[in-house]
């Protein structure tokens, strides 16, 4: 239960951070989707049920706060999580270059998904955003992903060390 509450809190905090601090940091020019990077990290590290819930919850919170149609990010984050799981089981995914390329492709895939969905459902042409918004976003996310993943790995180790200490003291 604590895991799910923490997940919700983490998703909420990360999304607020990317909507405020990161947006102000990049002066509104580039959107950096930390939540998607977190879902990719979960794909590399979490097992199916916990990771699936984490991805779905993060997507749901983002849907609630972004103003997009509900379910848009929930569906995509779940897909990205299981796609990452699929790859993790088949290839060695700890390499920095692989993480960069994979994050880059996931952000581009997200852009393509939104453009296709809006065109097919609402007949709104957003293709202009693919190279104007999503390409720079994918590049920045790709470049920053190894550092973010290293930081998250460090936090995970700390968290587990704390867990072990509290178990030993019992």
């Amino acid at each position: 239960m604590i895991f799910y509450l923490l997940t919700l809190l983490l998703a909420f905090s990360v999304i607020i951070l990317q909507r405020t601090f990161v947006d102000l940091l990049f002066a509104g020019k580039i959107s950096l989707e930390l939540s998607l990077m977190l879902v990719i990290f979960a794909g590399f590290n979490f097992e199916e049920v916990r990771g699936g819930i984490f991805a779905a919850l993060t997507g749901f919170v983002f849907d609630c706060l972004s103003g997009a149609v509900m379910g848009l990010y929930t569906f995509f984050y779940v897909i990205v999580f299981f796609l990452t799981r699929l790859l993790t089981n088949r290839i060695y995914s700890e390499q920095m270059f692989f993480i960069m390329i994979f994050t880059f492709l996931c952000v581009l895939l997200e852009g393509l998904y939104i453009v296709v969905l809006y065109k097919s459902v609402f007949d709104v042409n957003m293709s202009y955003n693919l190279y104007r918004v999503f390409l720079p976003q994918a590049l920045v996310a790709g470049v920053l992903s190894p550092a973010l993943f290293a930081g998250l790995n460090y936090l995970e180790v700390l968290f587990h060390a704390g867990d072990r200490r509290s178990t030993e003291s019992l």
């Binding site: 909420f12 947006d23 997507g59 706060l65 972004s66 299981f82």
Partner: protein, 277 residues
């Protein structure tokens, strides 16, 4: 049991994907529906976002004030001159306003709708997002409901698309999902203003025969029932008659600077006046 163990991962993935797809499909069929969880999320996030934005705005203001001290005197002189010019302009408009009033009386025309306004502070304005929306700190408790127009002194900002108890989401005119019936002020050419991303909007369905040129002001036509007639939407940036096609390609620069939005007014229709006989 063996079958389930073998395909356990696949089954879990299938359940998650189908559930999230069902959520998406449900909301694609019913866009604009605001659920309880969405309201709670908006209510929870808005104070935090407001706090962060206020802190950054405060820092920006301090820096801005310091910079503005440089060259203040010459700017002051320019502004005084501008005020004098604008005062003259207001006087001529006032004359025209009274004249229109008299003519309306003669022609027995009357405004059918009267609007009251609710001022609201902008809580969140994520500029880099693909979906151009802002969150304001007034909700259903203040009489704000979906569909109400939102304006500033510069012109139209957008319309309310989601409202919670204390906060509401405004769809900006620059969002792709925004469509507003519009008129070019001089030529009365009609079209639909659609959002086109960060800066420009597109005025669709303008006839090739209509006269539209850069610099013309675009106002709301009053058709569609959401926006009152005559509110400023923006200025024509480019107008192009391509070799093929029935319509002109017109781009519009919105009147409102969405990057500097701090306060807005929500227009609430009060009552319909009875037509005088």
């Amino acid at each position: 049991m063996f079958f389930f163990k073998k395909y356990q991962r696949l089954a879990i993935a299938f359940v998650f994907i189908v559930a999230s797809l069902a959520l998406l499909s449900y909301h694609l069929k019913r866009p604009g529906q605001v659920g309880f969880f969405k309201k709670v999320a908006m209510e929870t996030a808005s104070p935090v976002e407001k706090g962060i934005h206020s802190a950054f705005r405060g820092l920006g203001d301090v820096w801005g004030r310091y910079l503005f001290l440089v060259g203040l005197e010459s700017e002051n002189r320019d502004l005084k001159k501008k005020i004098a010019d604008l005062q003259n302009e207001i006087n001529s408009y006032r004359e025209m306003y009274y004249e229109v009033g008299r003519l309306k009386k003669i022609l027995s025309l009357e405004e059918t709708m009267i609007y009251s306004t609710v001022a609201a502070r902008v809580v969140s304005n994520e500029r880099s997002s693909l979906f151009k929306t802002i969150i304001i700190e007034k909700g259903t408790d203040d009489g704000i409901v979906e569909g109400l127009p939102v304006v500033t002194s510069q012109g139209i900002v957008g319309r309310i698309i989601e409202s919670s108890w204390n906060v509401s989401r405004v769809l900006l005119v620059t969002d792709y999902n925004s469509n507003i019936d519009a008129l070019v002020q001089g030529s009365r050419a009609q079209g639909i203003l659609q959002g086109g991303g960060p800066q420009l909007c597109r005025l669709k369905y303008v006839q090739r025969t209509d006269e539209v040129k850069p610099g013309d002001t675009l106002v709301t036509s009053g058709l569609g029932g959401i926006f009152p007639k005559g509110l400023v939407l923006g200025m024509i940036a480019t107008a192009e008659k391509r070799e093929t096609g029935l319509f002109q390609h017109v781009e519009v620069m919105p009147a409102v600077d969405f990057t500097k939005l701090e306060e807005v007014l929500v227009l609430i229709p009060e009552r319909s006046k009875e037509k005088r006989r």
